[in-house]
Subunit: 236 residues, 2 copies
Amino acid sequence: MRSQHIVGAFDAELQGLSRRIAAMGGMAERMVEEAATALRRGDLSLADHVIASDERLDAAQRELDETVVSLLARRQPLAGDLREIVAALRIGADLERVGDLAKNVAKRLGAVDAGERPRELQSGLDALAEAAQSQLKDVLDAYATRTADRLAPMRDRDREIDTVFTSLFGSLLEAMMNEPRTITASTHLLFCIKNFERIGDHATNIAETVFQMVTGHEMPADRPKADRTHSLSGAA
Amino acid sequence: MRSQHIVGAFDAELQGLSRRIAAMGGMAERMVEEAATALRRGDLSLADHVIASDERLDAAQRELDETVVSLLARRQPLAGDLREIVAALRIGADLERVGDLAKNVAKRLGAVDAGERPRELQSGLDALAEAAQSQLKDVLDAYATRTADRLAPMRDRDREIDTVFTSLFGSLLEAMMNEPRTITASTHLLFCIKNFERIGDHATNIAETVFQMVTGHEMPADRPKADRTHSLSGAA
């Protein structure tokens, strides 16, 4: 991928960008994992930790953006390098959103446990959170190793996440109707599962960015999401 | 703002970027307005129109991104121009998300009207949608006229939107508890109001980007959102 021209200092700067993304990725992954754990255990202090982490991730993204702007201003990167730089900008934005979504799960915990949860849905919640985490981990590995070959199945995995989400959405709605005392907790859990589903979307965005960065062309085929128009289940 | 150097063709390219943003802004505004109207009237065919529009907005964003990458690759923009170019990239991403959110409201309409709505909340919904629309309109005007002086109050307006959202969230929860037959519609309306609230957030992001682009420094003060940690009301 990397081409001739001004090697040395410039290469070091590009590597610096990669390291920033890796660090942000690590933070985002940890936040998602901790948010899921806090939700499972009802652990408010772990939730507070996630909320506090989000500020560090936001700061890391601002620094990344500044680094990119300064790099563009000082250098005149060739096509391949430019692709890498723009990719860093995009991945950074997706990771920042992943952190926001994890924070939002953490923020809801108090509200979830102010009411009574439909406990029978916990295993479904765990499965959803784990699927999102594992997808995020795999796209970050693909970025770190600059390999595109395992990225194409990411869309299928995202569709699986959407399916799990849709099924959980229906179960929560049912729980609300059958056990009205779970309405408050279920409502907030709806937003929590939506957040995990969105984390899967951002992982897929990152997969697309990495694919383009590594191969120079777009990830093949479109992304027909399982959200049938006007469906009863949760497209949002 | 604009400085000396290679004027002419380059200036034309920068103006082209502005026109693209203006066009995308117009599309996003229309989609938000139409989504709100479709929701109010229960108009499924208008909802379908919004859903179809989103593809055009997505395509417009991809073209904008390509234009920016090609511009950066061919020119070596000076600091002020670079700020403008990076701003276009950011605003384009925010507008694309606004379109997604409007589309998501449109997609939920069928599900909302599969059940019975809590009709007494319609005026609150309208107020929220209008507040989001008006904020979007004003930041796009500020971008078009390159004026920063009316941008600082945007954060206060965003907090007002958050307050309206939080109050509606509580009312929907209440409706679900008091009138269980509205549970399905209310649940989907929760996601609709969340989407309008998020549109307000993106308008505020755009306000911050425009402020930085026009003045060269960050919009003053932080943005303490009204989403109290662990609160019962809807932080997501």
